[in-house]
Each structure stands twice: as C-alpha cells, then as structure tokens.
Symmetry: C2
C-alpha cells in the first residue's frame, strides 16, 4: 500500500494556497473524491478545507479510521453531519469567510445549495480551474507512479499479442485482457471529470465496429454490448485481415497511462496500412515540436496539416463524426488539462503528461497510435513502451 508522502501533500497544498492568496479567496472546500485524494492522500468520504493560510482540516464521514491511516495530514476529524462544518472550522480558527472556493464544475446543484445555506454570507466561487491547472503538471513522485503504470501496460500489450485469436468476440478478448489488468492492480475503471462521461478499461474493437461512433468523447466509439453502454467491445467476432484497435489505459495507484496499438491476424487492407503510417508520422512530428513553451494549438494544427496533406484527411480523428483534439492530459483523471486541440493556447510545461492519439477512422476499421508522454526540457519522453508497428499475429 503506497501512502502519499507528507512532503508531496504539503507541496500540493502550498501551490493551491499560493493561488488562493493571490486571488483573495479565503479557502477552498474540496469535496470531489479525486481532488480529495490529490490533496489529502485518501479517498474516503470527506470534506477537505484548505485555508489560504494555515493547516488544512480533513473532515471525514466514512471511513474515519481509514482516512486516518491513509492521510499524512495533521488535522483529521470525524464529521458525521456536514451541518456542523462551520462550527468545526471555527474551532480551528477558520471563518467567517468572505469568499470560499468549491469545485463547481462537478458539484451537483442540490448539494451546492446546501453549502450555500451553511455559508450564507459567503460568496462561493469555482476553484476547479485552479485545481486542474495545478494537477496538470506532475511532480517527480507522480511521474514515478505513472512510470510504473506504463510498465504494467507494457505487460498488458504483450498479453494481448499472446492471447488475441480469430473467432472470439470482442467482449471475450476484452474480458481476458481486463482480468490480466485486474490481477496487476488496475482499479477497473477510468475516472473522468466530464459530466456523463464514463469508461471502463478503454476501447477494444475490430473491423467495422471501429467505425461506430458514440457518446464517448474520443475518435473511436464502438457498439458496446448494447445501447445502454454504447461504447467499446461488443459481440462482433474478431476476424482475419482486419484491424483490432486496443486503446486501453492502465490505472495504477490512481494514475492513468493511455496507449493504443493496432493488432491484425493476417494482413491489413492497403489503405489502413497507409493511414497508419500517416498517424505514425504525425506522432513523430509532434515529438519533435513539443517543447516547453509551445502552445497546444500548434501541435494540433501541425497534426491536422499532415493529415490533410495525406489521402485520408476526412478520416482523421473520427468518421463521419470527428472530434477536434489529438491529445489530452492524463493523471488521476483521463480528461485532464491541457487538451491538445485547435485554439488551445496553453503552453507546454515540463512535467505535463500528455496522451497523443492520432487516428484515422474508415468504414472497415480504424488505425492509429497512442502513447503517453512526459514533457521534458528536451521535448517529449515516451512513457508507454511497446512495439510501434502494426502488430501482426
């Protein structure tokens, strides 16, 4: 069991406090489970109050015992009823407040209204953009975990190469691969911040099922088992001479790496092979371009330029329904900042972790490559190592 070290929590909290002070915000009330984990090292059900100045207070509903074991914070108390929060904070010398920050991008309205009553003379503002921008840049501690996660995903792609076979359903292959992930400590799902967004281990589809688009905000969709879960693997049988795209992330100690490879039993149609080489060329181009200070939009534009100059422009990043990004931050959530998309002026910074996923979608399949990279002073460093050719079985 890895416990987030105290120095790491302190660094994260100090970074947020610097922003709070600069913005004139008295404190942040962190409630979303992933953010609580980021700042407190525990995911137990809790409110974490981070004052602009002073020690944070972790108020735990359940499990208090466990939060006390897992969190290196000093002030951890049991709070059964959130209504007593104001009195508790007062006992720590915090409040009344002029301005408090909440995670308004994820907090449901009904819950917000309750907090609004509790802190009725306080102005409530959204601190999620600040939190997300802090989480965007990973520390050496986080990069260490992400590296381990990448090592585990390398094993998984090896497992797929050994276990993929003709005539089984996508769901059957997915089940086998997911069991291999689970045994290695995968939490069994991805966390996403976006409302209504959900994902298990990732996308695994073959041939024509790769052309089915979906509600999931990515270039590929997939039919899924049924319309109640309209994405990823379905009952289609895996056949010969068609692409099997596996876009699986590993989630280890909370941290995600995202990766895509193309498998094929037999031989791929020529247009897919050619489109794959364009995707690969885009990846290589982005690797040379992506240095600290370069804007995300520049990466997207140069990717689009290569795609448009090829024979497959209209198949880039989805067909017929296209998404307008080629990459995204990953960390504790799959949809972290920055988004590598048109118009995004965020400059790259050292320590950002990005999944870059140029893909081309056709009626008879999809191809592409995805790796997770860390931005270093010298450019992108690949974290997700595995054979970067089409993997023929």
């Amino acid at each position: 069991m890895r416990i987030t070290p105290k120095f790491e929590l302190e660094r994260r909290i100090k970074n947020l406090q610097d922003i709070l002070k600069r913005q004139g915000i008295d404190g942040a009330m962190i409630i979303q489970n992933v953010d609580v984990f980021y700042f407190a090292g525990t995911m137990q059900r809790a409110h974490l109050f981070i004052p602009a100045d002073g020690l944070p207070v972790l108020m735990v509903k359940r499990s208090f015992i466990r939060a006390s074991e897992e969190s290196a914070l000093e002030n951890i108390i049991h709070l059964e009823n959130p209504k007593e929060m104001v009195a508790v904070l007062k006992s720590f010398g915090y409040g009344p407040f002029n301005i408090l920050g909440f995670e308004l991008d994820v907090l449901p309205v009904v819950q917000y209204q309750r907090y609004h009553k509790l802190f009725e003379k306080t102005k409530i503002i959204d601190v999620s953009p600040y939190i997300r921008s802090l989480r965007m840049v990973k520390s050496p501690y986080e990069l260490g975990i992400i590296n381990e996660s990448a090592g585990l995903n390398q094993e998984i792609y090896g497992f797929i190469r050994e276990n993929i076979r003709e005539g089984i359903t996508e769901l059957e292959l997915a089940g086998d691969v997911e069991a291999a992930c689970r045994k290695r400590g995968h939490i069994g799902m991805h966390r996403l911040r976006g409302f209504n967004q959900e994902l298990g281990y990732g996308h695994l589809m073959s041939g024509s099922n790769l052309a089915v688009s979906s509600y999931f905000d990515g270039p590929t969709g997939g039919r899924g088992p049924d319309p109640s879960f309209p994405q990823s693997a379905g009952y289609k049988l895996i056949g010969k001479n068609e692409p099997v795209l596996v876009d699986y992330g590993f989630v280890y100690d909370g941290y995600i790496v995202d990766q895509t490879r193309i498998f094929c039993i037999g031989k791929l149609p020529d247009h897919l092979v050619r489109a794959y080489s364009v995707a690969y060329k885009i990846q290589e181009r982005i690797k040379t371009l992506a240095k600290p200070g370069v804007m995300c939009a520049e990466l997207y534009d140069s990717a689009l330029e290569i795609a448009e100059a090829s024979d497959f422009g209209e198949h880039f990043m989805g067909y017929p329904e296209r998404v307008s990004f080629i990459g995204h931050g990953v960390g504790l959530e799959l949809d972290e900042m920055p988004v590598v998309a048109a118009g995004i002026k965020t400059p790259l910074e050292e320590g950002m972790v990005l999944a870059i996923e140029p893909k081309f979608v056709f009626q008879d399949g999809a191809v592409g490559i995805e790796n997770t990279f860390v931005v270093t002073a010298d450019g992108l460093k690949t974290l997700t190592i595995f054979d970067e050719d089409i993997i023929y079985i």
Copy 2:
C-alpha cells in the same frame, strides 16, 4: 441489440408528463445519461426536452446517427451548440417557459449556470425526485430484462464455485469472475447516482479484508488495490477456513441485479456460521412482511429487531462503522429508490425491485446474503436464484 420499444418510452414519458402537469411545470430538460436512456432509449450525448404536453424533442450532439438508430422517439435532431436550444424548442412550438425542471441532484453547478442564462426568465426547479419515483416502479418490459440479468448472475455464481481456489489473490479471482461477466455482456461497471460514488462489478473480499470499511456506502468495504481505489478486492490471498464474500451485480442491457453469497474453502468459524443463519432469518422474515403498502421503515425495523435479539447485534451492517439501511432499489442505477432504512415511510408498490442484504461484519470476516426481489401482490418474488446456504468448496 435490444431497442426500447416505442410503447415503453411513451408510457414512461406520459407518466412524467402527468406529474409535470399536476405540478404546473412547463417541461423537463433531461440531461443525465441514465435518465436520457430511460426516456429516449438511447444513451448518446443529448438533451431530451419533455414538455408537459406534446411530443418530446431529443437534441443530440453525438452520435446523432446512433441516437437516430436507437431511439424510437419521433423528434430527433442534431444540436451541436446547446445555445441554439431555445430557438430549436421554439421551432417545435415550445417556450417561453415559466417553470422548467432539470435534474439538479446530478447537474454540476457550472453547467446549471449556463442553462440559467439560456432560460433567464424561467424558474428552474429540480425534477429528479419525480423521475426517481417513476423509475422506482418497473414495467413488465423492464422486469423481463432484470430477469435475464438475474439468469446471467446465476451463471456467474456457478462460475465462482468452480473457479475459487486457495492461494490466489482476491484481485486474481475478481479478474477471472469479471471476465466471465464481460463475455456475457456485462457493461463492466455499476451506475450510481450519488456524487462521488463508484463501483466496478461489486465487492469480492475474504477474511480480514471484509472488516475494512470504506467510502462506499455499503455494509462492506474492502481494502481495494490501493488508497486511490479503497474498496473491494485487494492483494490478500484467499485462504482456507475463512469467508469469501462475493457481492456482485450483473448489469445487462443497463439493468442491475444485486446478489451476495458466501463461499468457504474448508470450514467457517462457528460465530460466522451462526451469524449467517441470523442474516438468513432476517431475509426470510422480510420476505413474509414485504407486501404492497408496507413501509420500508417497517422492514428495516424488523430486521434490526432480529439482529439485536441475536448475539451479533453490534456487528449488523458494518463494524465498527455501520450503515443504516438493509436494502435499496435497483434498476438502471444501483442506488435507486426506495432505500430500505430507518424512518423511510415509502410504502412498497407492486413492480418495485429491491436488493435486500442483511450482513454481519466481524474482525475476521463478514457473512450475509443478498438477493434481488420484485414486489408482487403476494409479497416478494426472488429474482436472483442460487444456492442460499454458505457454499463450501
């Protein structure tokens, strides 16, 4: 691929419209993916407007193609930018509105603020309690699917009996079981309405790991792989003479059944065997009590009474941290209404589907039973069929 039939959607929509009319609400804007699926038969990214009177309008961002294939509704249009929603509704003859309903229990504040601007002269109220109370009572169509889901879970419990073995980790067993679920079309996760609540296939723990409580709102917790996912299976090895509790739901065509059985390689300690028989007695008592018109609180109280009269009162429903319910509605979400808990005055109705899960938690393990039942005129009918004794291997 099962498509929700038009008559079923029409029935659901009419039920909501009856409430809207009675409450003087002009219409409901449905956005949460599960509710959209319930009323429109598709889970594509969309806004579903249901007027108090007239035909609904499904406004789809992505995938429009797929929503058109999956939904039996008449008015399905592509809407790229939600800002155009007001004009679109006007073109169908809807608006301006005095009062509109949104799902404020799940809608994030930032998104709500955008809708508030769009409909600036409209009062926005929460219609989730109405939607949840409609979804609480299942139709014959829904019961048909739930029955299929129960049949698949029966196969899964048989699979566990055949595949459980000493010396493998909980995660390894979980992976194998989950692969068996996935091959049968399990969507790979449970949907929960509660903020911050998440669950994969369910809980699978053994011996002392059953005593670890967690953020998940249930009687059992489990260590999980690490503090970033502090529930269910972990790296503990499954041993002899200890309980292995498997609380796995099957999610088929969106519909959940919830079930728990106790497996044991060897022989269980006497106190666990005796506590199991109390749990079973509670289940049987509830089966005779639970008739239409009986309040949920009555079921909880009588369960508590039996537990308190036994030698294991303080171990009932969690130890040392206890939850205050013994059952809950299931359907498209795991935390549906009603909750079978102290003080809940909701009377049972024919067609409600309830998971009842009396459990006892000790330092060296936990035991109990859970089945999913439908409320009929004659009382509870068990849907989740499998050996109801402790299953010795």
